[in-house]
């Protein structure tokens, strides 16, 4: 069911994935010259509250990583720390050995972008900004420039609505345009913050298989955050499960287990498998020891 080993070119990173189990994930970060992204022991405090309490993870080229957790678990904070937006109070982030990514190295698709429906900007104008929007001056856009824009938009199936005002596209179409805008600069790593939120299941599946084909074809690593792992379960190489600032990193079937998640949540958790889907639930009476009340509520971590 799950692609345990990535496509051929990632064979030499295979060891990394295997090492990154729930119990030994801290070690997996160190001494890995080949990984694209190394996050080592980062703590992040915002307004006196500790949001991330020591996260370690590494991403190999072409790897597809799912950042799973409920609202407030710290998913966006982790992505923005990787992006260099947030300075960790301790710990390090390095992208291809650099502390701050070079322009174009990391593509980012932020969460919940509100595009004004009246914006006189066509979809392809937005993708074009993804390529040269940070530059000063008006700039003459060559035909080669527009070829790149077209290539990125075709890659995500957004070319057919390239000339429509971007603010008037549907949620799924806008998501494709935003992915194209992140993809157009040929990044090594793409970070997507909740790209599946607000999409219906069919559109969500389309976006996931799209991303899966992009990373296979272009060898781009992807970190995608989501509160539900199910649409991603067949595509992910690794899961980073976040709960109240702590994380477990590893392969899906190693992380999404009753034992590992109970330890992460410090609360009995039950993982159920049904029809190729997993359900993570607050544990039932069989697992509850001293706790008489269930602080999660009935189905807190139903994600």
């Amino acid at each position: 069911m799950m692609p345990q080993s990535m496509s051929l070119k990632n064979q030499d990173e295979g060891s990394v994935s295997t090492k990154a189990t729930a119990t030994s994930h801290e070690r997996s970060v160190a001494f890995n010259g080949r990984s694209l992204l190394d996050v080592h022991g980062i703590h992040v405090e915002i307004g006196g509250t500790e949001i991330l309490k020591g996260i370690d993870l590494s991403v190999a080229p072409g790897e597809f990583l799912g950042l799973i957790g409920s609202n407030g678990a710290g998913k966006t904070t982790l992505l923005r720390t990787i992006l260099g937006d947030i300075e960790p109070s301790s710990g390090t982030v390095s992208i291809m050995g650099r502390k701050r990514a070079k322009a174009g190295m990391v593509g980012y698709v932020p969460q919940k972008i509100q595009l004004d429906p009246d914006l006189p900007i066509r979809a392809k104008d937005l993708v074009a900004l993804g390529l040269d929007g940070q530059r000063f001056g008006i700039g003459i856009r060559s035909s080669h420039f527009w070829d790149q824009v077209e290539h990125a938009m075709r890659a995500v199936g957004a070319w057919e609505f390239a000339d429509r005002p971007v603010g008037r596209l549907s949620g799924g179409q806008q998501q494709r345009v935003l992915i194209a805008a992140a993809l157009v600069a040929n990044p090594k790593l793409m970070l997507l913050d909740e790209p599946l939120a607000n999409l219906d299941p069919a559109n969500a599946d389309d976006i996931v298989s799209l991303l899966n084909s992009i990373r296979t074809r272009e060898g781009i690593s992807i970190i995608l955050s989501a509160h539900d792992i199910n649409p991603l379960i067949d595509s992910l190489d690794k899961v980073v499960y976040l709960a109240s600032g702590n994380a477990v990193v590893g392969k899906t079937d190693e992380v999404i287990t009753t034992e590992v998640l109970s330890k992460l949540y410090c609360h009995p958790i039950e993982v159920l498998h049904a029809g190729g889907r997993v359900m993570v639930m607050a544990g039932d009476n069989a697992h509850a020891h001293a706790h008489d009340a269930d602080p999660f509520g009935a189905k807190k971590a139903e994600d």
């Binding site: 992006l83 937006d85 322009a103 174009g104 990391v106 593509g107 980012y108 932020p110 972008i113 509100q114 595009l115 004004d116 429906p117 009246d118 914006l119 006189p120 900007i121 066509r122 104008d125 937005l126 900004l129 993804g130 040269d132 929007g133 940070q134 530059r135 000063f136 001056g137 008006i138 700039g139 005002p165 935003l178 805008a181 600069a185």
Partner: protein, 294 residues
């Protein structure tokens, strides 16, 4: 055509048309992005504070343009430092600061009225007159217009990117803070140019009116700017001629040139709104456009 040739012979007409056209084009470029950024409010607040500088300059006997310019650029940077969203949120504090600005304006105007002959101080500062512009100021006005257009062109792509989505721009390496600060300076220059042409109170109309029309009529940024420029240019020319000719129809009490320009802008805006509600243009619902000040 003969009428135009005759008018061109008059020195004041030439100055008025030259300054008006230059300012209309510069403010069109600035205005389109101002409307898109939802900063019509900031533009209007700047005019209140610009009038303090204008009236102080009048009192001190300096060229008013310098007063407008220094005050509105400083006010723009001040707004940027405090945070425009915060300013808008704290409407009581903002209202008091802006009202205090107008209070100072009235003080400076009263002082210049008692000190010098200038009973026209209030009219000059608040409502301006393209016919009363000192020809020696023209080169400075043109220079400022060119500076603002060049600066707009320089920051165009990042500024547009920040307008579309600040997060996305930031993720792509745009320095949002820098771009916003530079834009506020340019907006300050635009407000100063508008103030010297149609007066501090009315300059928002010149900045926002043609730009809103451009955004209603056009589908693309480039077209919106061109449309705004053409409409601004047209309203200035027709307004100037109308004001000049009204002398003959009204028995010597000509309509003020600022009124004519602003009334034309309002008219254009209304026509655009009607066209849109009839579905004849593609229908940009520019909620943020502030032409209420007209």
């Amino acid at each position: 055509m003969n009428l135009l040739m005759d008018l061109w012979q008059v020195q004041e007409m030439r100055t008025a048309l030259l300054v008006g056209s230059t300012v209309a084009i510069a403010t069109a470029c600035i205005g389109v992005l101002t409307v898109l950024r939802g900063q019509s409010f900031a533009g209007h607040s700047l005019t209140d504070l610009a009038s303090v500088g204008g009236s102080a300059a009048y009192l001190l006997g300096i060229n008013q343009l310098w007063g407008f310019l220094v005050a509105s650029v400083l006010a723009g940077l001040g707004m940027h430092a405090i945070g425009i969203e915060r300013i808008r949120g704290r409407d009581v504090a903002t209202g008091i600061v802006l009202a205090t600005g107008m209070g100072f304006t009235s003080l400076f105007i009263t002082l210049s009225m008692t000190g010098k002959s200038g009973g026209s101080a209030a009219v000059a500062v608040l409502f301006g007159s393209l016919f009363a512009i000192n020809p020696q100021t023209v080169p400075l006005i043109c220079l400022l217009a060119v500076v603002s257009i060049v600066a707009m062109a320089l920051i165009w792509r990042p500024a547009l990117f920040v307008t579309v989505s600040p997060q996305l721009a930031h993720a792509n390496g745009v320095r949002n803070g820098l771009i916003n600060a530079v834009f506020m300076c340019i907006l300050g220059i635009g407000v100063a140019l508008g103030s010297i042409s149609v007066g501090a109170i009315l300059s928002t109309a010149l900045l926002i009116g043609p730009a809103s029309c451009g955004l209603i009529l056009a589908r693309r940024m480039r077209d919106a700017i061109i449309t705004a420029g053409v409409l601004g240019f047209a309203s200035v020319w027709i307004g100037v001629i109308l004001s000049y000719e009204s002398y003959h129809w009204t028995g010597g009490k000509s309509w003020s040139v600022s009124f004519c320009i602003v009334a034309l802008i309002l008219l254009m805006y209304l026509v655009c709104r009607v066209l849109r509600s009839l579905g004849l243009v593609h229908g940009n619902a520019r909620r943020k456009a502030v032409v209420a000040h007209v």
